[in-house]
Structures are given as structure tokens and as C-alpha cells.
Amino acid sequence: MTDPVLDVRGLQSEFRIAGRWYPAVRDFTLAVEANETVALVGESGSGKSATALSILRLLPAVGARIAKGSVMFAGQDLARLSEAEMIRLRGEAIAMIFQEPMTSLNPTMTVGAQIAEVIEIHRGSTRRSAMAEALRLLEEVRIPAARQRLNDYPHQFSGGMRQRVMIAMALACRPKLLLADEPTTALDVTIQGQVLALLNELKQSYGMSILFITHNLGVVAQMADRVAVMYAGEIVEFASVNKIFEQPSHPYTEVLLKAMPRVDRDSAGLEPITGQVPGITALPVGCAFAPRCPLRQPDCDRHPALAPLAAEADHVVRCVVRAGQEAAV
């Protein structure tokens, strides 16, 4: 296998609250291989969005910092690049799409001009060829009557169409890696289906990798090759998509799956756990999930490392009970 496209090691990002630094992302190690989709899944407060912002170095300049770790991408460590070098990289080799496409588009520019602008800046093309490329991209993301719509403004597009425009902009420079932060959360379910199908198709035709951030386990199952489940700023389980859904091993992953009412089968009773994700200023000392965990043991007061399940190096779990038990068998 070739080198991973993105290789994050030991990443820790912190926010300053009332004069103290608190970690929002901890001990985050994850590699995204060429042309694969890795899903980061978690609830609000899990640190999944902070992770994406750290990778792209889009954390706020004041009150947030990358404290530790490296983010290797195309042979360089993004955590140590200058802002000028990052600007060149963003939108070119790495692109990002967001949950709310309306706020990421400039309302005073036509969508054609906005896509063309990206092409001009990064590729130095002329206006004319950039506009032609913009049209090709709008057709590629299947916007109907793309030639007419090139000169429309963002507010003239529906939510789903705006997200397609965002995807077209992201693809403008043929990125190797696409960060997608809840790209379909604001969309209706039938439109979400269209956008997910489009992303899957483009991933193949562009040969890019996708880091897909979502809270929706159904979407994860549709999109991901591998899945990292996040809780309280850290990965608690990481495995192939089939393993995660067939054999969820971290108690939190199990809880998430059991808590989701399914459209395709009856759920006699959901099994909710009490409580909620701890705030970053009030992380428990040991395992962050222990206070809510049905399997809690005295050992859980120690902070567990990500450890492989027995004989499965590619299925790692951050749980003293589960990783330990399996190893003992």
C-alpha cells in the first residue's frame, strides 16, 4: 500500500476558557489512505469538527491552538506550515465543504464567478478559461441547466443545489483530500440521498480521499470505508465500516447504535443511557465515557489507550474492559 494521503499523529488541540487551556481534541491518531472515505462520527461536543478545523488550520487565531502532534499531508507537516503556505494548500490539495452552504458562499457574487475565482487564484488561469471550467464543474455536480445558472446568485439556489455548488468549488483544483463537515445535515432526506450518491461518484472519478464528519450513523454506513467514533475529544473506536456495525466494541459505539431508531426494523425499546457528553472543562480523569458506561469497572479510573482487539490489528478500541477481555480469551 502506498503512503496514506493524510497521516495525523498524536494531535491535541486546545481552547482557552477563562485563562486556562482545555483540550478539545486529544491523542488523535488517524491515517486516511488514498481514495478511501474515513468517517468521523460523534455527537456534539465530541471534537469531530475541531479535528477538521485543526487539520486545515482553521481554528480561531486567538483562544485556540494545536498543542501537540503532527498532521502529515503530501510530505509536509501541516501543523508547522506558515499561514501563507497553508493558504496555498487550502482549496487546492485539501478542500472542505460545510454544513450550511449559504454562509460559505458570497451572496453578492454569481456562483460562476465564485468558482472561477478559485480556479484563477490557484491555477492562474484566465477568466475565460476559468469560467469554462466552472461550467464544466457545475455540469459535473449535475446542476440542471448549468449554463444559465452560472450567472445566478447563491440565494437563487435551493439548499441541495447550493451544496452542489460548494462541492463544485471544492473540486475546482482536483484536491487529494476532501474534508466534508456534516455536508448533508441541513438537507432533506431525498436531497441528502442525491448528494451522498454524487460524493461517492466523484470520489471514484477524481480518485480523492474523503474525511467525512457526521453525527448520523445511517449516513456513515452509506459512505464510509473506515469509521472513527469520537467521544469527548478522542477516538474511542476505529475499524472498517463493516466491523463497526457488525461488532461494535466500545460501549459508547454500542450505545449509539442502540439509541438510533431504525426505519427498516422495529425497535422494541431504545436503550438510552443517562447523561450527556462531558464539557471540555470537566473531563473525567480516567476513561471519559466511564461515568455513563454500563460496563464500568474500577480499572476505568485509568485513562485507557487505543488498543487492538485480539488478533485484529485494524480494529482498535479505547476501553480497558473490552480490549483487555478480548486479549485474555
Partner: protein, 292 residues
């Protein structure tokens, strides 16, 4: 944190105080205003002379050790008149703004809540009032009613109602659509309760901020109307009246007009600083940072 709540964010009022504390300038405004109010309240103790006591021997004397700010054409002590004048200025400003605030925001809330044709008609009238120069409007009303303290207050209150109606209407329209107002309707609350108990408190702070800014304007208006002679009648000392009297002798006795003008300047400045600081403190963006 399980289902119990352990979190205790600062109460809103504390957040506002904290913001005020950070803003040094607001302290200057507060201190100045406190001094003026103190002066007005304790005028009989602070004034070195009787403000009405005429003394022909000492008329038009420049500032001296005995008469710190000089005397006027009747030989009355300018400093004492200035101190007593603060009572009228503050009283007129405060009462007029309180009336304008009450009537104006009532109109604004009703217009915003009822909406439709009522809203269009009422706000049309309000817009016409806003289009009038305030001084001209005040002048007309004061001239119509006659010159005395009560009519002065009524005239100023009337001219300043319109901006309060505008400021109260906009948030009412926003709040009317909020779920908690709808929840009130679903629970069978009457419109008066919804407007008074659920909408009003959610915008009271904006209205109060406006109040402090418009009080400055009311004080200026009082001075202007008194200057024209439509305000409180002599011999009662008012700042505007003092400027008018001093104006006649501006070339020979500069102190007569300058000191009351300075008094107005300082008061208006203090109120404006305070109003701005309050607005910053109440601004939702700043507040959420404090409360988060």
C-alpha cells in the same frame, strides 16, 4: 453531569455589570452623572447663596472668591442658580423620557403584536412624527399649551415618543414568532399577558438604553425651549433660561452663558457615554461570550 444540573453560568445582570466594569469610560460617565444628581438633590446644602436673592450692588460681577462663577444682571449668584437649575433639567429630562418611554413602547409593542393594518397606520403616524424636526414639534406643542413646567414636560415627551415606538416594535415582531410566545398562546395565555409578561421584559433593556440616550436629548430640548422662552418661567433657575439671560450680555459678561452651557454639555456627555456603555453591555453578542 447526568440529568441533574451542576452548571451555573453567571446571571445576566452580573454579566452586564462585568462588562461595564471592563469599560473604563463608562465609569467616567457614571461618576459625572452621579455628581450632577448629587448636586441636584443636595442643592440647598451645596449652593453658597440663595439662587433667587437679588443684589443690585453685585450685579454682573465676574467670577471671584465670593461668587465663584460670577453674578447675573440681578446680582444673583450664578453657581447657586446652576446648582438649583440641575434640579429642573434632570427632572424634566427624567420625567419626559419616562413618559415617552412608557407611551412609545406601549404603542410599539401593540403595533408589532397586532400587526396588519393597525401596525401600518400607527407606524405611519410615528414615521411622520420622526420626520418632523423635534425642536419644531416641541416648539409648536409648547406654544400651543402655554409655557410652564408641566407643558414643557408634555411637549418633550410627545416629541420623543416616536423613536421608542420604533425601537419597541422591531423586537416585538421578532419575539412574536419565537416559540416561547407561541407556547404561551398554546397554553391559553391572553394577549395582554403575552405582551406584558413575555415580550416586554425581553426588550426592556434595549428600551432603557435608548432612554438614557434620549434623556440627554430631552435635557438639550429643555434648554432650547427655555432659551426661546417657552420653558419654565423666571425667576426659577433653569440652565436654558440662564443661557438666554446671559446671551443678552454675552459681550460684557461671558460667564453668564458659558457656565450653564458647560453644565448641559457635561450632563449630555455623561448620559451618552453611559448609554453607549449600557448598549455594549447588553449587546447579545458580547453577552453570550460572557455567559458561555
Amino acid at each position: 453531569m447526568a440529568d441533574t444540573t451542576t452548571l451555573s453560568a453567571p446571571r445576566r445582570s452580573n454579566a452586564i455589570l462585568a462588562t461595564l466594569r471592563q469599560n473604563k469610560l463608562s465609569w467616567v460617565g457614571l461618576a459625572l452623572l452621579a455628581a450632577i444628581v448629587f448636586m441636584a438633590v443636595f442643592a440647598p446644602l451645596l449652593a453658597p447663596h440663595d439662587p433667587l436673592q437679588q443684589n443690585i450692588i453685585h450685579r454682573l460681577e465676574p467670577p471671584s472668591a465670593e461668587f465663584l462663577l460670577g453674578t447675573d444682571s440681578f446680582g444673583r449668584d450664578v453657581l447657586s442658580r446652576l446648582i438649583y437649575g440641575a434640579r429642573i433639567s434632570l427632572m424634566v429630562g427624567f420625567v419626559a423620557v419616562a413618559i415617552a418611554m412608557f407611551v412609545g413602547s406601549t404603542i410599539g409593542i401593540l403595533a408589532g403584536y397586532i400587526g396588519g393594518l393597525f401596525d401600518q397606520i400607527v407606524m405611519g403616524i410615528v414615521d411622520v412624527m420622526l420626520a418632523f424636526p423635534t425642536l419644531l414639534l416641541g416648539l409648536m406643542i409648547a406654544a400651543m399649551l402655554g409655557a410652564n413646567l408641566e407643558n414643557l414636560i408634555i411637549a418633550i415627551a410627545f416629541t420623543e415618543m416616536a423613536p421608542f415606538a420604533r425601537v419597541a416594535r422591531a423586537p416585538t415582531i421578532g419575539l412574536k414568532e419565537r416559540d416561547f410566545v407561541e407556547a404561551g398562546r398554546a397554553l391559553g395565555f391572553g394577549p395582554l399577558r403575552i405582551m406584558g409578561v413575555h415580550i416586554l421584559p425581553n426588550m426592556a433593556s434595549d428600551v432603557v438604553v435608548m432612554g438614557s440616550l434620549w434623556m440627554a436629548s430631552a435635557i438639550r430640548m429643555e434648554a432650547s425651549l427655555s432659551f426661546i422662552g417657552l420653558g419654565v418661567q423666571p425667576p426659577t433657575p433653569t440652565w436654558g433660561g440662564m443661557i438666554r439671560e446671559g446671551f443678552e450680555n454675552i459681550l460684557t459678561a461671558w460667564w453668564l452663558a458659558i457656565f450653564p452651557s458647560l453644565a448641559i454639555l457635561v450632563t449630555v456627555l455623561a448620559l451618552n457615554i453611559l448609554g453607549d456603555a449600557l448598549r455594549d453591555a447588553i449587546d447579545p453578542k458580547l453577552r453570550s461570550e460572557n455567559a458561555a
